[in-house]
């Protein structure tokens, strides 16, 4: 078991023949991900990386039976690609693209919800179920199989944390990069619900950051509904107010969205909050021992 994706997931890559998509699709295939084809409008009929290319998602889904899509489409067209995927019946849409206008995502997310699809991202590294399927740009070698679920708003910090978990002698069941934009598809709560019901996942590491209140919503959920151990770290404790810290959503607006208020809410919910980013691995190890 794991969540959302596994070795049986059939994956289509949108924007398949582009440079980034080509490189990362190759990496995903090498990892063992079952990529069944891709879509690049106007290039239908070609073979790319040994897989068929289609003009539309509708045709691609019909011909391949795919249930997951991975999006590498440029920002101006990415929301359209998400809407195309969910309209074609894709159940898990992973959008890597950074820089999508928030007004576009707002609408694409609503359509995904209406169609019962899970949108991961945008502006995220993707999802990996260790040693089964990698759908995104995460470096596969870091993720050794194990019992820790990982949810993170950031890319390289996800790898850093997975590495710490592995160095602590543990491993990862599924890791999901949910993205750092102001509006994202799947949030901490959505994934906590899935990890709660996943027998393979013993504990969860959640990595948040400044901006918005998703971590506070998650804290409220954990307090009432989540009994597996949770270790958290919130990045941006030293970030100044009103400045965007790399991610479009990483900004303290007025006095809202600070790391301090999130840490407080998580602690109140019984979450073990790592006081610095270097001790997350040790913290989860300690909790699982006791």
């Amino acid at each position: 078991m794991s969540i959302l994706v596994n070795k049986n997931s059939k994956v289509l890559v949108q924007g398949f023949t582009g440079k980034e998509a080509t490189f990362h699709s190759g990496q995903c295939i090498a990892y063992g991900t079952n990529i069944v084809g891709g879509v690049t409008p106007g290039k239908g009929g070609q073979i790319h990386l040994g897989k068929p290319v289609f003009n539309t998602m509708e045709e691609a889904v019909q011909k391949t039976g795919a249930d997951v899509s991975l999006i590498f489409v440029p920002p101006a067209f990415a929301a359209d690609a998400i809407m195309e995927a969910v309209s074609a019946g894709i159940k898990v849409v992973v959008c890597i693209t950074e820089g999508i206008p928030v007004n576009d995502i707002m609408i694409a997310k609503k359509l995904a919800e209406k169609n019962g699809s899970v949108l991961i991202g945008p502006n995220c590294p993707g999802i990996i179920t260790s040693e089964e399927a990698k759908i995104g740009i995460l470096p596969g070698f870091v993720f050794k199989k194990g019992s820790i679920g990982l949810i993170s708003k950031s890319g390289t910090l996800t790898y850093e944390m997975a590495n710490q978990v592995v160095k602590a002698g543990l491993g990862i069941s599924t890791a999901v990069g949910i993205g750092g934009d102001p509006i994202i598809g799947t949030t901490f709560i959505d994934l906590l619900k899935l990890f709660r019901d996943d027998p393979e996942t013993e504990a969860v590491v959640m990595i948040g950051e400044i901006g918005g209140d998703l971590e506070i919503q998650a804290a409220e959920y954990i307090k009432e509904n989540f009994s597996k151990p949770v270790v958290a770290f919130i990045a941006g404790q030293t970030a100044p107010k009103g400045k965007r810290m790399g991610h479009a959503g990483a900004i303290i607006a007025g006095s809202k969205g600070t790391a301090q208020e999130k840490i407080q809410a998580l602690k109140y919910a019984g979450v073990a909050v790592a006081e610095n980013p270097a001790v997350v691995g040790e913290t989860i190890k300690m909790i699982l021992k006791s």
């Binding site: 928030v102 609503k110 950031s154 850093e160 990045a235 810290m245 270097a278």
Partner: protein
């Protein structure tokens, strides 16, 4: 991206959101003609900087004659305006907006912002106009009326009525308000704004609404399709080093400490600042060189960090995922030579080929490049180096 009041009002005018007559000037000698062109016998002379609190800081004056317009314009232009939002250094005023006087019956607040929790824009109105809205929100939140606007249905009459009845407006006023609010929604939506604020929104003696102030902010990710908005960017309002970094697709934010940071990825970059603080130091900056981190971006990163004279040590913290650490190590050595870094550079490389990378760094034997075994070790060494402590 933020813009000035006069620019927000240009956008308002385009969408038929009523504004007083006004003109932006950059030279005091243009003040008199601007006032004559506007007409009337009372004018507001307003400093144009992005920060709020201009009135309290002495950046907004009411002139009752053409002589006073000239006098205030020359006083405000080139003054260093300090408000609660500018920081102690203040902001030099380069532009002044001269605006015709308005006959005020009552002041309101009207704003719109992207509500991240509800995932849609929210329009907010209050009878408490002309005062700090954050204060109203904290002390008397019941005086702020809010309506969330689903982007799939847009702004409807019922939204306007909900706000207008909340403001206790009379029947003819409600009609006027609905027109105003609907036009404001269009100005917000069409330009991919994420903030618009009118404080105060004024009800005039003849029961018309008019925007006495105006503030707008925009989604940076949507500037590619709003070239008119992108062209409104005032470079005087931006930190020069941040602009320079942006040219190379680097994300840089200047801070006040002395430990420079260069990191790949925004989350890891924020965490690096946090751990420096945790180890007793102060970060000098946020710098995300992107997931990849090539020799070229690292060199540019050094250059930008070194422009800050406070920096006494640099912590390079890279997690090599797809990108290999040995390549980054070579990049760092090359970049350190090119940019002639004299201060200690603490390097922590982890991930793909991390061992090879530390061999490369060690055998290069550059005196001021110090390798770290892990995240915490790197932070500790960097903080100590900035304090002048060796080992």
């Amino acid at each position: 991206m933020n813009i000035h009041e006069y620019q927000a009002k240009q956008i308002f005018a385009k969408y038929s959101v009523p504004i007083p007559k006004g003109k932006m000037i950059e030279k005091p000698e243009d003040a008199r003609n601007a006032a004559l062109e506007i007409g009337g016998n009372i004018w507001a002379v307003k400093a144009q900087i992005h920060a709020g609190g201009r009135g309290k800081g002495g950046g907004v004056k009411l002139a009752r004659s053409l002589e006073e317009v000239e006098k205030y314009a020359s006083e405000i232009l080139e003054m260093t305006l300090i408000t609660h939002q500018t920081g102690p250094a203040g902001k030099v005023v380069k532009k002044v907006y001269i605006e015709g006087g308005v006959n005020i019956k009552k002041e309101f607040y009207l704003g719109m912002v992207l509500d991240r929790a509800q995932e849609m824009p929210v329009m907010m109105a209050s009878t408490e106009g002309g005062v700090e809205i954050e204060k109203v929100a904290a002390e008397t939140p019941e005086k702020i009326i809010k309506v969330a606007i689903d982007p799939l249905i847009g702004f409807r009459s019922f939204h306007a009525r909900q706000l207008a009845f909340g403001l206790n407006l009379s029947k003819p006023q409600i009609k006027e308000f609905a027109l105003f609010a609907s036009a404001l929604y269009d100005a917000y939506k069409d330009n991919d704004a994420n903030l618009v604020e009118i404080n105060p929104l004024v009800l005039t003696a003849d029961d018309k609404f008019i925007a006495l102030d105006g503030k707008m902010g925009f989604d940076d990710n949507a500037l590619f399709r709003n070239p008119e908005i992108a062209a409104m960017k005032d470079l005087d309002e931006e930190e020069p080093a941040e602009l320079e970094a942006a040219k190379y697709d680097l994300n840089y934010v200047k801070l006040d400490g002395d430990v420079g940071c260069m990191v790949n990825g925004a989350g890891l970059a924020m965490s690096t600042m946090d751990i420096i603080k945790h180890e007793g130091g102060e970060p000098a900056n946020f710098l995300d060189v992107g997931g990849g981190a090539s020799a070229e971006t690292v060199a540019k990163g050094f250059e930008i960090i070194l422009k800050d004279p406070n920096v006494k040590a640099i912590f390079v913290n890279i997690f090599g995922g797809i990108v290999r650490c040995d390549r980054i190590a070579n990049g760092i050595i090359e970049a350190a030579k090119v940019t002639n870094v004299k201060i200690p550079v603490i390097v922590r490389l982890d991930g793909t080929n991390a061992l090879e990378a530390s061999d490369i760094l060690r055998s290069a034997d550059i005196e001021n490049i110090i390798t770290a075994v892990d995240f915490a070790d790197g932070a500790r060494k960097a903080v100590n180096a900035a304090k002048g402590v060796t080992k």
